[in-house]
């Protein structure tokens, strides 16, 4: 598996990155952790003329707390997110999700920005991003843009990013308010380890013990990550017992453009969405009570 020939650039500033992108035109490709791009190069599924490595752009790295948000630089590797005390305390869903991505090697190289920009239909982080209502910040030829996660993931490997835009950071809202719990459940493909279905759930438990509000992100089953909005609505105000959660999750797969493959048909994926949503909601509710 030998990639086609390409030129390699490693700029050190964002301005240089943009200039290099401009120069490469349609034939440039950004390299973050390389965990998705390098395999695509080797299989010649991607044949860029120039690869622009973001690895030396220090300004794209790091995690900071901004009020009620956790802002993560695009080039921050997964492992740094897992190790962040702020993330662990204020946004545990990211830890629950990212700890299930690939293996230690992948988590040490792969980045938050790469995962978001790549928009793999079976990627884990997009499920958490839509559930948390993340905001993606990008910069490009026409200046800075922000995108709501809900509109960011559009299709298989397709995002709302404009041509030659670079994701600079992703902002996730904290979920550390009392009574809020989160969970991420994943049915792993036995070969790739990617999500056949992944469900990220955030549950706010009211004083009466009922569900005050819930947000559910789905990945793996369709062309891109989405929210289970009808289930979220059905859960609101309902008791958080197995039976009523099951009832609310009965239509969790509604609106997902289900995909099927040799491992799991679209029917089975729909079924997994229902089962895993139910389990994730119950687990999140349990975490909320702790």
């Amino acid at each position: 598996m030998y990639p086609s020939n390409f030129a390699y650039a490693a700029p050190t500033s964002l301005a240089d990155v943009l200039a290099q992108m401009q120069a490469a035109g349609d034939d440039g490709k950004l390299l973050a952790g390389g965990q998705s791009l390098i395999p695509m190069l080797k299989l010649r599924l991607a044949e860029p003329k120039t690869v622009i490595d973001l690895g030396k752009v220090q300004s794209l790295r790091g995690i900071r707390v901004d009020g009620n948000s956790i802002v993560i630089g695009a080039m921050t590797p997964y492992v740094d997110v897992l190790d962040s005390a702020d993330v662990q305390r204020r946004c545990p869903l990211l830890v629950q999700t990212i700890s299930q991505v690939g293996d230690p090697q992948v988590r040490s190289r792969g980045t938050v920005g790469g995962s978001i920009a790549h928009a793999d239909p079976a990627g884990d982080l997009p499920a958490a991003a839509v559930a948390l209502g993340a905001v993606v910040t990008a910069t490009g030829p026409s200046g800075n843009h922000t995108y709501d996660a809900a509109n960011f993931f559009q299709d298989v490997l397709t995002t709302a990013l404009e041509p030659n835009e670079v994701v600079t950071s992703v902002s996730f809202s904290a979920t550390d308010a009392p009574g809020t719990g989160t969970a991420y459940l994943k049915h792993r493909h036995p070969a790739s380890g990617y999500a056949v279905v992944g469900i990220a759930a955030i549950v706010m438990v009211g004083a009466d013990g009922n569900c005050q509000a819930a947000r559910i992100g789905i990945t793996g089953a369709g062309s891109h990550a989405t929210r289970a909005t009808s289930t979220e609505q059905a859960l609101a105000g309902k008791p958080l017992d197995a039976q009523s959660v099951a009832a609310a999750c009965a239509n969790a797969a509604d609106g997902v453009d289900l995909m099927g493959d040799s491992y799991a048909s679209s029917d089975y994926r729909a079924h997994l969405i229902r089962v895993l949503s139910q389990r994730a909601v119950l687990q999140a509710a349990q975490n909320a009570r702790r």
């Binding site: 598996m1 009965a250 040799s262 089975y268 079924h271």
Partner: protein, 801 residues
Amino acid sequence: MAVSRLFGATVKRREDPRLITGKGTYTDDFKLPGMLHMAILRSPYAHARITHLDTSKAKQVPGVHAVLTGQDLEGKVNGIPTAWLIPASDLKTPTYKALATDHVRFTGDGVAAVVAETPAIAHDALDLIDINYEPLPVVTETEKALAPGAPQLHDDAPNNQAFHWTFSNGDPDGAFNGAEVVVRHRFVQQRLIPNAMEPRGAVAQWQSGADELTLYNTTQNPHIVRFLASVTNNIPENKIRVFARDVGGGFGSKIPFYPGDALTIFASQVTGRPVKWIEDRRENFLATIHGRDQITDVELAAKRDGTMTGLRVKAYSNMGAYLSTAAPGVPTWLFALIVPGCYTIQNYSCDVLGAFTNTTPTDAYRGAGRPEAAFLIERMADLLAGELQMDPVDVRRKNFVPADAFPYTSAGTLTYDSGNYQGTLDKALEMADYNGFRQQQQQMRQQGRYQGVGLSTYVEVCGLAPSPAAGAMGFQGGLWEPGTVRMLATGKAVVLTGTNPHGQGEETTFAQLVGDMLGIPAEDVDVVHGDTAAIPMGWGTYGSRSTAVGGTAIYKATQKVIEKAKKVAAHLLEASPDDMVFDSGTFHVQGSPDKKKTIQEVALMANLAWNMPEGVEPGLEESSFHDPTNFTYPFGAHICTVEVDPDTGEVKILRYVAVDDVGVVINPMIVDGQVHGGVAQGIGQALYEHAIYDEAGQLITGSMMDYAVPNATHIPTIETARTETPCPHNLTGVKGVGETGTIASSQAVVNAVVDVLSPLGIKHIDMPLTPERVWQAIQAAKSSGSGSGSGNANQPGQPGQ
């Protein structure tokens, strides 16, 4: 002989430090001066005519030395031979060209090759080869290929029939007439991909002055490669040296001689430079042999008390587009003879049809025919138990060949050498706490937890084995082994073996064997394999034969060394050889323990030859050529317990108990390791692995992203134990363990899952038991409401529906 210490000891594998620190020498590690690199262009179509092929642009690329097509090979490189010509079967062996000329028959069939300065240039130049195809209708499934009107692959194989092979013993039809019970089922053995960690590859160095070839090759059998390369590339066999130092796994896929090997040799001849070809993982998926892919229709006749009385099997085997080296023997001889398993059924017939399809050729994959056989009979034993409402343990007990009946001639006309099937089963039942589990199973069900237990009691045939039997079966080779033991002047020993260990650890085992016999440290024994220039002959490592056959040859050679050393020692001690005692590496005169010579001292004197006894030649080296009188027959009982998640269909293995009897054990840790690896592959087949083609003949599970080779997280702790029933017909008592784990395990897992689901009326699910398949089976059973346990209110529920 000395009280055994090395023999039977747990000794760490000496090959491991180099392998796990990246210091092994695999084919890709050979870098010769002036070496070029070859890449192969492979057909993207499963079935097509080549209508246009122009390599001129690729030839112009700087750094490209040659671009080869099928035309270039005409008259120079012969077809890839099929080396197992099963008799009386109307076998068709259509030509398998190293590069197709006008007609491609599977996705991955080679059509051209580029030889260039670097692998990257070679791969880039492949893109510049101008080739057009006219797609033809495709058939990938065996029964469809054999049906009238199917697309035809070969002019000389009408109806795509590769062979029709039959076997019969006793009166099978009579057994079914008026049988008290008949159980019938169809089983699908899915197609598997061997996936050795080291992909296929070769480095060929043609020395034109001497007209000699050195071939560095990743193979299980260097001498067979030498033989087949000679036939294919028209090079005298004595002008070929095949070298295979470290081989990164094979599982059968490195028995065959491949088009890539023949092409690499030819490319070196054409360019006058050494040429390396290393396939990438995608090529490995497409162009290295696949395994299994067999459908069987099985009927079992029995009495109401559970006694099995007759067995009839009709099998359909997918051979792929061409017949690979050993392919025809796998679904016939290696499968059919052992189907009756541990049981005393004497009325048995088997009818096997092999078909050509537009898929990658199939051949031996770990177990080769025997896993299919063991799966079939062990699933049938459970189906019979279900039919008769008997415990699966009792059905097996009822039919076992009794321990006092050995040697036993089976319905497959094999002579089972020794065994105690009841013994391994009893031990496994105790280890797995079978009775306790059965009680607990009911309670768990009440709590909504769905657990089950599955048995597999197996016997296999290995230690491949008598050369006359090979001849009778049409195998175009012998199955004996040579062994040479040489003591050097410094007291160290060198062992030459014609087997080619590639993960089985014989560098360690053979050193233990010889060190133990000679009374010298194992570290002083070096085991040399994988070099046809150093080793007189050899038939290789497969069929769990290396230690049983090759090890016995070494044992005999070592005995001869001791005999000769005794003469030399007696001469030096001025005593009669008859008065010599050999103990722990030292000869002494009977009754005078102080009059002694160590074997190292004797080795020195024999090598110096200053003072040899009359009529004794210098040196201390002996060889033996061992041809066994029978195969060997390891056996055992594996028990698996599982839990099924009724909501998702996921199967979790709770415990896996493997009690094997592989005869005498030289190194228990290595034997455990072989069982672990084999069981992992069997679990892989049961739950995960599946090579799937679409209608157009594209392999849609053609990468590690899609094809699930189990990893450590998929495999439970494997609890191993053994009983030891020596092989009575060789000197070491060793039987063989390379394949037992794979042969024994898949059906234990499937039987356990079916045990969980049988209250719903589910009788079988075809492998792999993926969560969706299990879930679909549960759905189907619930909607048809056919649960035999209608009184059982504890059917798996479906929350979330």
